[in-house]
C-alpha cells in the first residue's frame, strides 16, 4: 500500500505540472487567450494536486523507511553506445525538495493571479511558470542525467523568457539574452558532464554519481574529478557563483513574483540541490571539493560586500541571496549535508517573502521609522570604511565589464574572423565580405 502511494504520489507530483504546461501551451495556439479565471482554475488545480501528491509520497516514504527507490519509466531512445532513459530516483531528500518546489510554486502562482490581473501576457506568464514548475520537479526527481538535463533546460529557458517578459522595452530583452547566454554556458558544462558519465558508466543513471558505492566501481579519481569540475561549472552558472554571477542582478526585469520564485527561492537553489545530491562525487575528488569551496567562499565574500551598497531593493536582495547560496555550496563541499539542506529550505522561504514584500519596502520603512523614533533607536551605520572597497562594491567588482572585455570581445572577434574565412572559402571576395560585415 505504502509503495503504491509513494509511486503514484511521485508520478502525480510530476505529471500535474506537465499536464498544465501541455494544456496552457495548446490553449495559447487558440486565437483568443483563455479567461483569467480559467487559467487560475487550471493552474490552481495542478498546483494543489502536485503538492498533495508529493506530501502523500513523502509520508509514504517515511512509513516505508526505504533508502532509495528508483524506477525506470521507459527508454527514450537508444543507440549502439547506450540508451537514454526516463528514470526517476526517489529518496527522502528528493521528495522533500520536490515538495518544497511544488509548495513555493503553488504559493507564487496564487500570488500571481491577483498580481498580474488584467496584464497583457497573463496567459504567457502562466505557460512559462508551468514550464518552470515542471522543470523543478524533473530536477528534484531525476534518476538519469537526461531527465536532469531536460529539467535544467526548462528552468533556464522559462527563466530567460520571463526576464524578457516586458518585451516592448529594450532593457528586459537585452538582459534576458544575457541571462540566456550564461545559462547556455552552464548547460554546455552539464552536457559535457552527461557525456562523460555515459562514456565511463555506459548509461546516464544518476546512481553512478549520487551513490557512493556504485560510483567507486565506475569512476577512477581522475574521472570523478573531471565530471565534478564540469558539474561545478554547471552549478556556478545556475546559482550565480563567481565568475558567473553578474547576470543575477540583471535578471530583475520580470514581474516581481517571477523574480521572487526564480532568483530568490528556487532556480538559484537548483544548483545547490544538484551539488547536494552529487556530494559523494565531491568527496571522491579533493580537486572538485576544493574548487567548490574556493568558489563558494569567494562568492560569499564578494556578494556580501556588494549587497551592502546596492541602492535598489531588488539588486540588494539578489546579492544577499547570492551570499547565502554560496554559503550553502561551501557547506555541501565541506560535508555538512544536513545543515546545507536546512539552510536551503530556510533561505528559499525567507527570500521568497522578502522578494514578495519588496514593492512595499517604503511602506515598511515608514512603519519602522515610526517605531524607531518612539523607542529612540539609532540607524545602522555602513560598515565599510575603505573608499576603494566601497567603490569596488558600488561597481559590483567590475565583473560585467571584465567579462565583456576578456570573454565576449575576443569571442566576437573570433566569430567575425571565422565568418570572413567562411566567405573566402565560399568564393566571395574578401572586399565584399568586409562590406557585408559592416
Amino acid at each position: 500500500m505504502s509503495e503504491f502511494v509513494l509511486e503514484a504520489g511521485t508520478l502525480v507530483g510530476l505529471a500535474s505540472p506537465a499536464l498544465l504546461l501541455a494544456v496552457l501551451s495548446l490553449a495559447s495556439l487558440a486565437p483568443r487567450p483563455l479567461a483569467e479565471r480559467h487559467v487560475a482554475w487550471l493552474t490552481g488545480g495542478a498546483m494543489v494536486a502536485s503538492v498533495a501528491a508529493l506530501a502523500l509520497a513523502l509520508a509514504a516514504d517515511v512509513v516505508i523507511g526505504a533508502e532509495v527507490t528508483s524506477w525506470t519509466a521507459r527508454t527514450w531512445f537508444s543507440s549502439y553506445e547506450g540508451s537514454f532513459r526516463f528514470d526517476l530516483l526517489v529518496d527522502r531528500g528528493a521528495l522533500a525538495f520536490a515538495l518544497l518546489s511544488a509548495t513555493i510554486c503553488g504559493v507564487v502562482s496564487r500570488f500571481s493571479f491577483s498580481y498580474l490581473h488584467r496584464e497583457r501576457g497573463f496567459q504567457r506568464y502562466f505557460v512559462l511558470f508551468s514550464a518552470f514548475a515542471l522543470g523543478m520537479q524533473m530536477i528534484a526527481l531525476a534518476g538519469s542525467i537526461e531527465v536532469l538535463f531536460a529539467g535544467w533546460e526548462l528552468v533556464g529557458l522559462s527563466s530567460a523568457l520571463l526576464v524578457a517578459y516586458f518585451h516592448e522595452r529594450p532593457g528586459p530583452v537585452t538582459n534576458g539574452l544575457r541571462v540566456f547566454a550564461f545559462y547556455r554556458l552552464s548547460d554546455a558544462a552539464m552536457l559535457v558532464a552527461a557525456a562523460l558519465v555515459h562514456l565511463h558508466a555506459g548509461d546516464g543513471s544518476l546512481r553512478w554519481i549520487f551513490g557512493a558505492d556504485e560510483m567507486s566501481a565506475h569512476f577512477s579519481p581522475s574521472e570523478a574529478t573531471l565530471i565534478g569540475v564540469f558539474l561545478i561549472v554547471a552549478v556556478a552558472g545556475k546559482s550565480a557563483l563567481l565568475p558567473l554571477s553578474s547576470w543575477l542582478p540583471r535578471a530583475m526585469e520580470g514581474p516581481t513574483s517571477s523574480s521572487a520564485v526564480y532568483y530568490g527561492s528556487l532556480s538559484v537553489h537548483a544548483g545547490c540541490y544538484l551539488l547536494w545530491r552529487a556530494a559523494p562525487l565531491l568527496e571522491r575528488s579533493p580537486v572538485a571539493q576544493g574548487l567548490a569551496i574556493v568558489l563558494g567562499v569567494a562568492t560569499a565574500l564578494y556578494a556580501s560586500l556588494v549587497a551592502r551598497v546596492q541602492t535598489d531593493v531588488k539588486s540588494a536582495l539578489a546579492f544577499a541571496s547570492m551570499t547565502q547560496v554560496a554559503l550553502i555550496v561551501v557547506e555541501i563541499a565541506v560535508g555538512l549535508h544536513g545543515l546545507a539542506f536546512l539552510h536551503l529550505v530556510g533561505h528559499a522561504s525567507l527570500r521568497l517573502l522578502q522578494f514578495l514584500t519588496a514593492p512595499s519596502v517604503l511602506h515598511d520603512l515608514h512603519e519602522l521609522q515610526a517605531e524607531r523614533s518612539e523607542s529612540g533607536g539609532r540607524a545602522v551605520e555602513f560598515p565599510i570604511r575603505s573608499r576603494r572597497l566601497y567603490k569596488f562594491a558600488l561597481e559590483r567588482g567590475h565583473l560585467d565589464e571584465a567579462l565583456d572585455r576578456v570573454v565576449v570581445a575576443p569571442f566576437k572577434r573570433a566569430a567575425a574572423a571565422l565568418d570572413a574565412l567562411d566567405r573566402i572559402l565560399a568564393g566571395e571576395s574578401s572586399r565584399r565580405a568586409r562590406k557585408r560585415r559592416r
Partner: protein, 225 residues
Amino acid sequence: MSPRAALRHVEMRASDLAQPRPEYGHASNAFCIIGRRRRTRGLFLDRRAFLASYDPSRDADGEILKRVLGAVAPVVAGINLEYYFSTVDPTGYGSGTKLPHNVTCLLGVMDGALSDLRTGLPWQMVEIHEPVRLTIVVECAPEHLRRALEASPAVDRLRVNRWVHFACLDPESSEVRELVDDRFREHVAGEPLVEIDGPSARWFQGRSGHLGIARIRSTGGRALA
C-alpha cells in the same frame, strides 16, 4: 454581497501584498464644488467630485473666496492633471505597469534592473480614469470669482490656458454660469437629473463604469453601512 462582507473585502485588499490596486485614490475625478455643503446634499456624485466648503453668505466682499480658491484650486487642478497625463500617456508621463517596479534609493521606483526614475502614476491606478479636465464650480457671484482669479495669477493661468474650467453657481438660485473666454455664459443643463428613492446603492449596485449624477431622496432609513 452583504455590507459587512463588502467592508471585509475592501480591508483585505488594502493589506494584500499581491494586490497592485489596493485602492483607486482619486481616479475618475472630474469636478470640484466649492460652496455650502447643503447645496450638494442628497446628490450622488459617483466619487468624481472634490468638495470644499465655502459659505458665500458670510463673505460679502469676496475676500475669503480669494484665500479659498488660492489654496484649493492648485491642489485639485494638480491632482486632476497628474491623472490626465498619466492616462493619456502611461509610459511617457505615467510610470507604466507596476509589476517590474523596483524601489531605488528609498525615494522612487525604476523599471527592473536599471532605468530612469519613473514619475507619474502607474497604469494600474489610472486604468479606470477618464481623462477629462477639471471643472471647478464655485458658489458665488460672478464678479467675486473674477476678482479671486485676478488675485491668484497661477490659478488664472491654468484657466486661460484651458487646463481647468470654471463655473459659478448662483447662491440664491440654481442658475449656473460657465466662464468661457473671459465671459460668463449661461449653462444649459443636458439631461434631466435621475431621481432615486434612496439608498444610493439602488443607483450604483451591479453597474460598473461612470454613472450620471443622481438625486437620492432619503427614505429615512439607514444608509448602506
